[in-house]
Amino acid sequence: MSVDLNAVRRIAHLARIGVSEEETPHLQGEINAILKFIEALEAVDVEGVEPMTSVIPMKLPMREDVVTDGGIVDKVLANAPLTEDGFFLVPKVIE
């Protein structure tokens, strides 16, 4: 399995990481090196094997339906780069 330059661009966009045209071939090389490494797994017989769904046997714990949180707008906004009147600000999103 290997990726071409278009795939690299597409994956970079999926991951929302800006990659310049100059960087793309180098990144392609890196990714293909890793893909080659994991290629070895294709040969493993996994017939009838269930994928791991929980690392240790444990029941999913559940919470009571009580409001125990929130009302901490100052904490929530404390590290935000850009806010106004309690809102986070982002460049305008066109629907």
Partner: protein, 507 residues
């Protein structure tokens, strides 16, 4: 007066309890050592004022006979843990300036038990790396001198921010391991996803433990790979690691994957007999062209355990060689999702842009280093439409097989498994900056199996390479049987003799 920073955690604890020393004294001693050793770049943020305040509070509690299990003991914290109001960036540029308004459960446990915080320790960015070379803050120099180097040469190299030629302490908990080995803290709280505690422990001649998955809470730990991440201690002795882990571990209702099982008294397990225990030696860990010193040490480890009364048998863990490639599917996949929240909107770095996609792409391009970027892209790829079954699903099935291998061995009566910790001793900083990222990944070949199976692993220093650099041995235990690992680890430590850590050359 003994150099207080040379005490073990246990010795310091005992002296504090007997009032032979005060927390203020030992904390100050560490702060001075940290300053002298700052060029090692082990710390990315120091908290001297806070440390002295905490020390004073601890001394007051000791005076009132209210000492907790870690009362007054100065500890370093890996930059991965959210420490309230204090630098928490997982050594990434993208978390620039982030000071969390909350404390991680594991560190809160430390402060609950009276420990003193010295500062935040350097690490590979987002815990992705095996040499601390991907950190935004630059590499960490191991306190171990490169072979044939003298102190002058080493000090000169320290002056270079790139630390070229000096040894890496391993990663991702490089700063933590270096600080412990260089006596810049009594012990450190670190994390392990594929070997990030155990490999640095081996490289720096100290003890590292990755407990069973779910033993410690992940709440407030910057997430890398959720099904693999675990908190754990780095310390200079097995006993020290046991003491620290006991405080760190425990149930947490805020983490759905954290076990509700009570924590055992790990220190009590140190010094127990191992008569009647069976130790497995997995044949698949014997790699082609294996370093003879490591092979020899592995055999010696088996001899030590046999001499102490254990039975040593061969076992087979047939899917061992698939663990590393499978890990490099699962971990990046989970990371690609966990790191999606770093987008410049609610915290951290923000690059200006007139549109939202630009904001994301520029911020993340600027904020993430090359290794993180590689892994996030691999992660997005292996989860993407058309590839999920072939990669991620397959890797999770292989994970089941890896875990089953261990379960079969344990079912045959094996109590623990002995393996080498690393394929080599520490290498030089910049040595593995090759084009092929996979070369760095091979460092974790002996350790990732343990994370993939969710089992506990302990690394103890066991000897030296031909070049005089530390080598460790790894013990892998049954789920939630950290006690047996501490018992066995102590035997290794006693048999090998306490590792003589390097004297201070950096100041």
């Amino acid at each position: 007066m003994t150099d207080l920073t040379s005490l073990t955690l246990a010795e310091a604890r005992d002296r504090l309890r007997s009032r032979a020393i005060s927390s203020a004294e030992i904390t100050r001693a560490h702060l001075e050592a940290m300053e002298k050793g700052s060029a090692l770049n082990a710390y990315v943020a120091t908290t001297p004022e806070k440390a002295m305040q905490m020390a004073a509070a601890s001394d007051a509690r000791i005076a009132r006979d209210e000492a907790g299990p870690l009362e007054g003991l100065p500890i370093g914290v890996k930059d991965l843990y959210a420490t309230e109001g204090v630098h928490t960036q997982a050594c990434s540029h993208i978390l620039d300036g982030f000071k969390p308004p909350y404390e991680s459960t594991v560190t809160a446990n430390l402060w609950r038990d009276g420990a003193v915080m010295l500062g935040k320790l350097n690490m590979d960015e987002f815990a992705m790396g095996s040499s601390n070379e991907t950190s935004y803050y630059g590499p960490v120099a191991s306190p171990w001198l490169p072979p044939n180097w003298n102190a002058d040469k080493a000090r000169a190299a320290l002056g270079d921010p790139k630390k070229k030629g000096l040894l890496t302490p391993g990663g991702s908990s490089g700063g933590s391991a270096a600080a412990v080995a260089a006596r810049l803290c009594l012990a450190a709280t670190a994390s392990d996803t594929g070997g990030s505690i155990r490999q640095p422990a081996a490289f720096t001649g100290i003890v590292g433990v990755k407990p069973t998955y779910g033993r410690c809470s992940r709440w407030g730990m910057v997430a890398f790979a959720s099904s693999l991440d675990q908190a754990g201690p780095l310390a200079r002795t097995v006993r020290d690691a046991a003491i620290l882990l006991r405080s760190m571990a425990g149930p947490d209702a805020k983490d759905s994957t954290c076990s509700p099982a009570p924590v055992a008294d790990y220190e009590a397990a140190v010094g127990r007999s191992i008569k009647g225990l069976t130790i497995g030696i997995p044949r698949e860990y014997r790699l082609d062209g294996m370093n003879p010193a490591i092979e020899g040490l592995w055999a010696k480890g088996g001899d030590w355990l046999r001499a102490a009364g254990a039975k040593v048998v061969d076992v087979s863990l047939p899917h061992t060689r698939h663990a590393l490639p499978a890990y490099y599917i699962v971990a990046p996949a989970e990371a690609s999702s966990n790191l999606a929240r770093y987008d410049g909107v609610r915290y951290g770095l923000r690059e200006a842009s007139s549109d939202i996609v630009g904001l994301y792409e520029k911020t993340r391009a600027k904020g993430f280093g090359a290794e993180v970027r590689r892994r996030l892209m691999i992660g997005a790829y292996v989860l993407s439409a058309g590839y999920y079954d072939a990669y991620y699903l397959r890797a999770q099935k292989i994970r089941t097989l890896i875990k089953r291998d261990f379960e079969d061995a344990f079912a045959e009566g094996v109590d623990a498994i002995l393996t080498p910790a690393t394929p080599s001793a520490a290498f030089g900083i910049g040595e593995k900056a090759s084009v092929d990222p996979v070369e760095m990944y091979l460092n974790d070949v002996f350790t990732v199996t343990v994370n993939m199976a969710g089992l506990p692993g302990l690394v103890a220093p066991a000897g030296l390479s031909e070049d005089g650099l530390p080598l460790g041995l790894q013990l892998i235990g049954r789920a939630f049987d950290e006690e047996t690992l501490f018992t066995l680890g102590e035997i290794i430590e006693q048999s090998a003799g306490r590792m003589a850590l390097p004297g201070t050359w950096w100041a």
